[in-house]
């Protein structure tokens, strides 16, 4: 067992989850997803006009290892809202279709939304947090 207190990667991931109300750990980037499941999850968040932080787990295998140890979830993508794991692509898709995701995010699902502050979601790299 690794001690989280002495594990900078795990701390960086935990901070990223705590500091970002909506954060997606994915393969690739929102602009260039490297996996169909990550792409679908990004498309759902974008269709809800939901700004989100994104972490590409591909550059360092340790990110995925620590993330899965932390979340107890084995696969990528993983969506966190308000510090809680929502799930992977299947769950996000189901919750989108049922309207629960829009409810959880506090956005109007499907309805045209007011133009948000058009600040692009800043891509986040765990490496930069270390």
């Amino acid at each position: 067992m690794s001690d989280s207190a002495s594990n900078p990667m795990r701390e960086a991931i935990q901070s990223a989850i705590s500091d970002n109300p909506v954060i997606l750990f994915m393969k690739g980037t929102p602009e260039a997803p490297a996996c169909g499941f990550s792409a679908r999850t990004v498309a759902i968040l974008e269709s809800l006009d939901q700004p989100f932080a994104a972490v590409n787990i591909l550059p360092d295998p340790a990110i995925r290892q620590e993330l899965s140890d932390l979340s107890g979830w084995p696969t990528i993508p993983q969506l966190f809202v308000d510090g809680e794991l929502v799930g992977g692509c299947d769950i996000v898709t189901e919750m989108y279709q049922s309207g629960e995701l829009a409810q959880l995010l506090g956005v109007e699902g499907g309805a045209p939304s007011e133009p948000q502050d058009s600040a692009d979601p800043a891509p986040l790299t765990i490496e930069n947090l270390l």
Binding site: F37, G72, W73, P74, T75, L85, V86, G87, D90
Partner: protein, 75 residues
Amino acid sequence: MAVSTEELKQRIEAGIPGTRAQVTGDGAHFEAVLEGPAFTGLSRIAQHKLVHDVFGTELGDRIHALSIKITPTEA
């Protein structure tokens, strides 16, 4: 060893008693449609974790991708 849809079906049904599984896939990407009483009353996360626990670290590794759709049924 290649993963077969039959292997996934049998392991899910053996690992989660009362569950019926339909599994389709191409050897790398699989989709499992599951129904059973074991899922009733659980959050989606907990439902999926029952399935994850059947395969442990094979998920995302030997089993490259497994999409899961779950319908809880009455016990």
